[in-house]
Symmetry: C2
Subunit: 517 residues, 2 copies
């Protein structure tokens, strides 16, 4: 296969899944041309005048939607590991004798392991989307017929909006819906908070099917998904497992080294002056991120500082900030626990967002770049601050991109990582898979010290008087290698066999994932 | 000029403003083809990373937006007769030496009479939009260079969505906005409630400019207009006259004959069984419509009946229904008084809608056809129940279409009209201008009796036991002609000179308005 080296020094094939690929050109260097995707014009005269779009089954909906071989079917991952719809979709597709579909989830989860049989049988040709756990492992072993394509949340929206990915049929699992197709994630037994990951699907797919286990009379308020974009509504007994959709509660890490990392980050945000009245930050639902929020909250209280907005995934900890008046707003992309759902449902200052508002790089700006600070993780980081978030050091693809790439555009991007995992150093000379360029990564915080990207002279200056352990990244790397007995072994992979492509936020390709041997 | 007779028997020229026209084919008969409009793909790398899109003046915004001769500039009419932005826009366009623009307002109001000088000077070539009062009169006299095109609220959205009207620059006056361009109508000195009429403009225009007199820090919540679609933000001292944007209070008619019409409608809705638990209705802010709501409310209270939803424009009377538990929701397209704004701001069950959700005929259904009953007005009605809502009997174009055509799709469409105005009968053999086909108009209610469309055998049966004065429409016409001394004189118009076109909801043309002599 022909290819070329991109601006980040990674080899990219000329075509991916038969379509010409554009190699990564550098941050902000690729200028798109052309126009957005344009769905077919529909007419109300083809839809029931009483607004009732309920059909008897998923199969009937697929039939009416004109499902054919080779089509692209999309789903969202707001139900996370509690999803019961994706497997049913492809069981139905299989039963209908349809082959060679492309599955376009916003993310795949371990509960969807049964999808593998449909990959084996040819019902699904390949998956484009974050493929975590068993599906990622399957892909890593080179078993998928096509190449996996991983996009960030914003990149997925962009690819739909720009027409790179044409969705024939979107299936949107909805905790509450009305017969017209208005839907939200706030109410019902499978409540997940919001449905932002399905927004682009609803806007651009040719046909949109809502699947719900909680049908209510029109109007379903709020309509996070507009019924005006929906073709069919299907009622199912049970679309998700509530306990796996959200946690009852989210938990702060108890690991002393991770608590130390969290404290370092909070102190860094305070000492550098990022924490000031009206500031903003984003932290996820991982144990370290939650601990960071806890420390920062203390500092905010001590200094009388209030945030203008914070971004989730929301948890009870972010909800606490809102309810205690430490932030004006939560701008939330997904709710991770029951408190998050309650708050989004009842508090107008807990606002649902989408990859369109927050992350789409082909918009007229987005929210991500306005954030004062974001705290993210990584599987590997190199001494130029380039980072990997999808593969392990053994080369296996086990994590999705999530909103990680999109968030790198924040004013201060902080990666929180332990200096080693399973006795394997995290800081390397070269990351296995390049997911984000070092120029966007400002700070790496480990339990052994904090490395500031030399490009950020302002931050280096800002910490001059701080007693935080600021160290060159190479120093931390050297120390950790001594502890671990040297750098990790290179992954055993077949460099001639790419199994998945990592797309950058602008639609160019930044790296490939290779078959593990 | 060449043309043809459409399915409603009206002559339509082959081209309107140089573009081929499609004559009206009958309700639901025109099937659209092709795809929706596709705006250019943008990139965040061309927008300020800190999200601050504020520029120093409207002129600077126009310059940066690339304003050129012949472009289309759109505005909304949520400020009604209190708007101070449209005149400023075209004064600026004029100062910049730009000519031959097309003004595409959602409606024009008397306060925009100064626009006439820009029509005279060639700054504006013609107006497409509802043109009420002085602008309509100007158009009626054949003075506009191009042909006016009147579209309903839904038809306007459809025309943008379908790409019939390409907006080069949308200017959205916003009572509150942030520097990113998120905007709403709920807060600030010029609060108007919502900004739904500008939704399509924000989604499909090449360039979007927000003009506000109330800039707040990001984020402006709720974002009725998404900043992600906005190019520039301009701050003005004063964008509207609050007293003319909304009434302090709206008033029920005191006219005995209009009160009688209102009571007849309410009794009709009750006696026919339309009023039942979970029903829905729409009534506007006119004095008769408000009186109808008052009577119906009494009947609902007496019978213990509750509506599922009501549609506005909202007023204190609809808010009363919501707050007293007589309806679950208000689905609101525009707020007409201060109580409407307060309720929409504070009550999550008072929901803002848009022409996209409510009226767009080229959607996958819309809200209008789900309504059990709608009460509308008309300037003229003929004995086949066809109706006119834009011209007077003298032929002058003095009213816009509003959501009138869109609402005709309700399950029971009721026109409330006095049997004569200024001693001119309202029921005729043939309406001056055809705006809505009789097959969609179910009931005409006058102070002299109620005429049911013979097509609605079910309604004729439903009133069998009612003591309401149900009469054939011809009977009412004959009686009124006796009182008034015969039918009105035909309008003095030049049938060879069309000055404006009336578009039907599907983009076909249903009639033309002609030059008055």
């Amino acid at each position: 296969m022909k290819g070329q080296i991109n601006a980040a020094g990674r080899w990219i094939p000329d075509t991916i899944n038969g379509k010409p690929s554009i190699p990564y050109k550098g941050v902000g260097q690729h200028k798109p041309s052309g126009t957005k995707a344009a769905p077919p014009i529909t007419t109300c005269s083809d839809y029931p005048r009483d607004g009732n779009k309920v059909v008897s089954s998923l199969q009937e909906a697929f039939k009416k939607a004109g499902l054919r071989n080779g089509m692209t079917i999309s789903t969202h991952h707001h139900f996370r590991n509690g999803d019961k719809v994706a497997n049913r979709i492809f069981d139905t597709v299989s039963k209908m004798g349809i082959k060679n579909t492309r599955w376009f989830p916003s993310a795949g989860f371990p509960c969807q392991e049964p999808i593998i049989k449909h990959l084996e049988s040819g019902v699904i040709h390949h998956i484009e989307g974050s493929i975590n756990g068993p599906l990622g492992d399957y892909c890593s072993r080179g078993k998928m017929k096509g190449t996996g394509v991983l996009r960030s949340h914003g990149g997925r929206y962009r690819s739909i909006q720009d027409g790179d990915v044409h969705i024939d049929i979107a299936v949107i699992a909805a905790p509450t819906a009305d017969p017209f197709g208005n839907a939200n994630g706030l109410h019902g037994p499978s409540a997940c908070g919001l449905l932002g990951f399905a927004l682009g699907d609803s806007q651009y797919a040719d046909k949109v099917i809502i699947v719900t286990d909680n049908l209510i009379p029109f109007p379903c308020i709020p309509w996070q998904i507009h019924g005006n974009l929906v073709d069919f509504v299907v009622i199912m007994d049970d679309i998700g497992d509530p306990e796996k959709i959200v946690s009852g509660t989210t938990r702060i890490t108890r690991s002393p080294s991770r608590l130390l990392i969290a404290e370092y980050i909070a102190r860094f945000v305070k000492d550098t002056g990022i924490m000031k009245d009206g500031f903003s930050f984003q932290a996820g639902a991982g144990g370290t991120a939650l601990a960071f929020v806890m420390y920062l909250k203390k500092f905010m209280n001590d200094s009388g500082v209030k945030a203008r907005f914070v971004r989730g995934g929301s948890t009870e900890y972010l909800v606490g900030l809102l309810e205690e008046g430490l932030t004006d707003y939560i701008l939330d992309g997904q709710t991770f626990d029951l408190e998050g759902i309650r708050s989004m449902r009842d508090n107008p200052n807990h606002v649902d967002t989408s990859p369109f508002t927050s992350y789409n790089y082909h918009g007229k700006g987005n929210f991500a770049s306005m954030l004062d600070a974001v705290v993210l993780g990584a599987t590997e980081i190199d001494v130029q601050f380039n980072a990997n978030v999808v593969t392990h050091s053994d080369g296996r693809l086990l994590h999705g991109l999530g909103g990680w790439q999109d968030c790198l555009f924040s004013k201060n991007t902080i990666l929180a990582v332990p200096s080693f995992r399973d006795r394997l150093p995290v800081i390397l000379d070269r990351v296995t898979t390049l997911c984000g360029p070092g120029e966007l990564i400002d700070v790496v915080v480990t339990e052994r010290g904090i490395a500031i990207n030399p490009l950020r002279k302002d931050l280096l200056k800002a910490v001059k008087k701080s007693d935080l352990p600021i160290r060159p990244i190479e120093d931390i790397k050297t120390e950790v290698e001594k502890i671990c007995g040297g750098p990790p072994d290179p992954p055993k992979i077949d460099k001639r066999k790419a199994v998945a492509a990592i797309q950058w936020v602008d639609g160019t390709f930044i790296d490939m994932v290779h078959k593990v041997l």
